[in-house]
Symmetry: C2
Subunit: 204 residues, 2 copies
């Protein structure tokens, strides 16, 4: 059936376009041209531009959830689990950068779809927070407010992966090698931030 294939192609190309140019910056005409199809074909599969966007967001949420499930299934503990997640996110950034671009677009203030992604991501968030809490109890991760710590982690990881332009203007060309370096440095940073304090910490 050629039809559902078209639908799939629209979703994939739209993901790239929305992630690259944002919702407002993407026109159905441009998207159609990129697909080698008429705009009306897009509107056949998705009743409106906004519906298309929502479908793309849902699709992406599934992808993200799968990626994290995969990591969670490995059942690692402490910082090894954190490392596994960082590795996974970086892999995603390398292979499907559009996904991160879309996340960036959706999580912008004033975004009408933020809650949509939020609802799908919420279980992952809860699971991650519980994980942090357990690991704190077990003394494998520095004690602090788990929800807040998770927010710090999220910021650091997504920022490092997303702020490509910042990195470029500052001299890091986003080659594969520099990506590896960034991941390594980020992990060192996170390990330092998460490792429980030693018996004799340095004073304030």
């Amino acid at each position: 059936m050629a039809g559902s294939d078209t639908r799939r192609r629209i979703l994939d190309t739209a993901l790239a376009a929305f992630g690259r140019d944002g919702y407002a910056g993407t026109s159905l005409d441009a998207l159609a041209a990129e697909l080698g199809v008429r705009k009306q074909t897009i509107l056949y599969w998705f009743p409106s531009k906004f519906d298309l966007f929502e479908a793309v967001v849902d699709d992406t949420a599934d992808d993200l959830a799968d990626a994290f499930d995969e990591v969670a299934a490995s059942g690692l503990a402490g910082l090894d689990q954190v490392q596994a997640i960082v590795d996974r996110v970086f892999r995603l950034a390398v292979h499907r950068p559009q996904v991160l671009g879309l996340v960036r677009e959706v999580t912008r203030p004033e975004s009408p779809t933020a809650s949509r992604l939020g609802v799908r991501i919420r279980p992952l968030y809860d699971r991650a927070r519980d994980f942090l809490m357990r690991e704190m109890e077990a003394g494998r991760i520095r004690r602090s407010d788990p929800a807040m710590l998770l927010l710090s982690l999220y910021s650091a990881v997504v920022g490092m992966v997303t702020e490509l332009e910042v990195q470029r203007t500052v001299g890091f060309e986003p080659t594969l090698r520099s990506t590896v370096m960034r991941r390594r440095e980020l992990m060192r940073f996170l390990r330092a931030a998460l490792t429980p304090e030693n018996p004799a910490p340095a004073g304030s």
Copy 2:
């Protein structure tokens, strides 16, 4: 002279609009309506929408540079200096959130103005990196690649301040109180990440 006042008002309102809705999402008509003025008045002061955007970016770069100069002038050392910068960024986020919104817009991949902001920000970057390097030498900050560490810091701080939507969907309403909490948690996070290792560090 009412004229230069109009120019100022356009710049301020445009900053808010671009920061809120992005470049593509902001129309000159809407901007003019918000200003209580005709679109052509905007085009009198700025030859095109893009020129306006560049002017706003330049203006914002000056603001940012001033803010950091202010902190740098205080001449603090080690983590106190880092703390002062974080405080300053959070103050900016509370009083003029549009500025960070614009930063987010400009630093998006594919942004045609990224280099424009980059050039103006570069001296600040260099100064910050030198600072980190000096403090590492002095043993007040954990040793690592200063440029990479700076990137990690940037990601964590800007992320924490910018990802309002993420925080909202996860249950943190962006009240003033929660902002204070976020800042405190972020600082604890950064202190843990930056404090030099103790004589007897935990194993890998």
